[in-house]
Symmetry: C2
Subunit: 435 residues, 2 copies
């Protein structure tokens, strides 16, 4: 490590920008050259540029397959050593392509870039950034390329990864550490939309969105930005520009918006998110004794499973038993069922019912705080569209419902129309909004 | 860097071994598991084991292709960043496979292992090894896996590579730094032979060979060990055991042999090497003035081309001109011709003749020092076999001749028979002796 270094303030007419490009933007040699041209254009416009890069296309999946061939259960430390090779390769290739365009570029691994993390392999958190080498390279006039998704453990000095898709977080963390003007996240979509344009043709690009709304959208199925990245941006107050790497059009700015100061009203509803990756588990006939629910959720927590919504049905007085329903990620389903069935006898419930044919639809907007009628309006729209609500959960700025998976699209469209979000023009999007 | 650490002396009954496996030994998941079993067997026999690993199969070539697709002339710094991903991947995969066999293993990059080098990207030299992390891991009872071929520049802290095939050198350097008992180099051949068994069916495995002979064989076309690795082993007095990763048979020990002390006679001829990778350039009609030869070889040196043999024909007195012939690597041929033709007018020679249809055959043996008749015997054998000698060069312990490429095999066999090296049994070798 080169130490923290002092971060010099950028000169008045010069802007320091962090740009992040995802795997689909650097899927092959041609894409890499295209991204290189965009970076050099930003540099030549007089900016200092730091680029965070993901692994090329399917590299990470391919490396994961290779690991599985060698070992059914690879050690997380070694898996991190393996997987981080992906970003290292794309970083070096991108630097070569930039050099070919006559600009100076230097690639750095996460460790070299000073991304210091916890030691949790596969899901490490950034503790600190010590960007001494980046600052030096910028001072030399170089474009800096940083391998995303990776860092180095503060205690063991082993290579760590930050979890899938975490290159966004690397970018925001670097932007904060480098006091960058802003952070640009390039992907294959034009920005954040009021709903998924594949479901709602009249969905509109949101030009500006506050951190709170973006957090709720990201936490409830909008795949455009990772939750942890948005949390980091809010905490460090980094303005994030989400935009397409295939066009020069403005995208969506995620930033602190002081509506009062701007003399604007908060938007009532910013957007509709949906999520088809959850499942619903119902524990039928739980004895209606004090502490049973706590018992059950302790077991789930000990199995390292995050749950989302919880509903406990009113006690069926005759049987002195109750049903508990909760939602969780489908990928945790089998683990949860096994954990519950292991204690079925001790707790004495009847059975566990698993259903992954569900979806969650969420209406999000900070303006909701001061407008009590939103829930009623949403539910009326769902009813008129014939959507049956399975579960409900709300926050101060969000209303979520669980519905049958077949009714997700209908519910999204109904909400979008009810809150006046439909545009007359069809949104322009590129293939695949997931990343 | 964790600092040099002190290298604890291994307990009396415990041996510290460095094992190096080449790319063909870890070409796929099955090969990696096979190598893992061998390593665990060595560990379970009570040894401390450090493994140096090359990139899987064709990984390095594939990465090189990728670089070429992105940039016609990639920066060496970035190329090193890219290529070193290969060993990093195989090191992690091998560690996973060893862990699966119930042994503890930890992989390290060259930089993490403390391989400190010069800053010459693509061809860095090892300056120092600071094996603090390796020593700690060994003390913890772990098998240590080190990514070969790579290190970190002492001055810039950038990732460097040591040149193709340099994982052998990494292994020997680590063996020296760790005061290992010996270094085992595993490949797909059974050891060092008196000649290439594909040419001479009666070639014999050499059980022991001294550094000097091995240096001459390696420098003159024997591909079993890289020259720099042998030089390092000699300088640091590391005993190297060259053996097959496909069998348990002993291979060839390369080590310091004190024949006098052993009461043995030095072998007259240890082996015959050949090399088809050279080319011959003749500069015809060089004006016979003082300094012309120096001029020409300065031009060649400035083009960063190494030459091997040089012959200057006797001056053709009538024309006051002479011919200069030298050999060089075929890969440098085009560069040399361009450099020479650029100065043709100034120096005033007639023309440059290039011939890559040549081969070099070398007879090597430390015993030659005290036996003056070797040259005569070799040349007589070549003459009897009908081989025409093009150029000759000799050292204290080697005689080399350049012959037509069609006569290389005949010359190798003639020398092998003349010096009594033929065995009655056919040597056992596996597919491909090159690595």
């Amino acid at each position: 490590m080169d130490g923290n270094g002092t971060v010099p303030v950028v000169e008045a007419d010069q802007v320091r920008v962090v740009q992040k490009f995802g795997g689909s933007s650097v899927a092959d040699a041609e894409s890499i050259k295209r991204v290189a041209r965009r970076i050099v254009a930003t540099k030549n416009a007089g900016n200092e540029v730091v680029v965070v890069i993901s692994a090329m296309g399917d590299t990470t999946d391919d490396l994961m397959d290779l690991a599985q061939q060698v070992s059914p259960n690879p050690r997380p430390r070694e898996l991190d050593m393996l997987l981080t090779a992906g970003e290292r390769m794309s970083a070096a290739l991108l630097a070569m392509a930039i050099n070919d365009l006559g600009a100076e570029a230097r690639s750095f691994t996460g460790s070299q870039a000073g991304v210091i993390t916890t030691g949790t392999h596969g899901d490490a958190r950034i503790i600190d950034i010590t960007p001494g080498r980046i600052v030096t390279a910028l001072a030399d006039g170089d474009v800096v390329i940083v391998a995303g998704f990776q860092g180095v453990s503060q205690t063991t000095k082993d290579i760590t990864t930050l979890g899938r898709g975490a290159s966004d977080t690397t970018a925001v963390a670097l932007a904060a550490a480098l006091k960058a003007d802003h952070c640009e996240i390039y992907s294959d979509v034009d920005g954040v939309f009021t709903a998924d344009p594949r479901i709602v043709p009249g969905a509109q690009r949101i030009p500006e969105i506050c951190y709170e709304d973006m957090l709720e959208l990201a936490a409830n199925g909008a795949k455009i930005l990772h939750l942890r990245c948005v949390e980091y941006a809010r905490r460090e107050n980094v303005a994030v520009h989400v935009r397409s790497s295939f066009s020069d059009k403005p995208g969506t700015w995620v930033k602190d918006i002081n509506y009062e100061e701007l003399g604007m009203e908060q938007p009532l509803i910013t957007g509709i998110a949906h999520d088809r990756s959850e499942a619903k588990i119902t524990i039928v006939g739980v004895p209606d004794r004090v502490g049973e629910a706590a018992d059950i959720f302790t077991i789930i927590a000990e199995a390292d499973i995050n749950i989302d919504m919880i509903v406990q049905n009113v006690s069926r007085t005759q049987e002195q038993a109750t049903d508990i329903t909760f939602t969780l990620a489908q990928s945790d389903g089998a683990k949860a069922i096994a954990a519950l069935e292991a204690v079925q006898e001790r707790i004495g419930f009847d059975k566990v019912v698993y259903n992954d044919q569900v979806g969650k639809v969420s209406v999000v907007g900070v303006g909701m705080r001061s407008h009590p009628g939103v829930t009623a309006k949403f539910f009326r729209a769902l009813a008129e569209a014939g959507v049956n609500i399975g579960m409900i959960s709300t926050s101060e700025i969000r209303i979520s419902v669980v519905v049958d998976i077949d009714q997700v699209d209908v519910a999204v469209r109904a909400g979008h129309t009810a809150f006046g979000l439909d545009s007359s023009e069809q949104a322009v999007v590129y293939a695949g909004t997931g990343r």
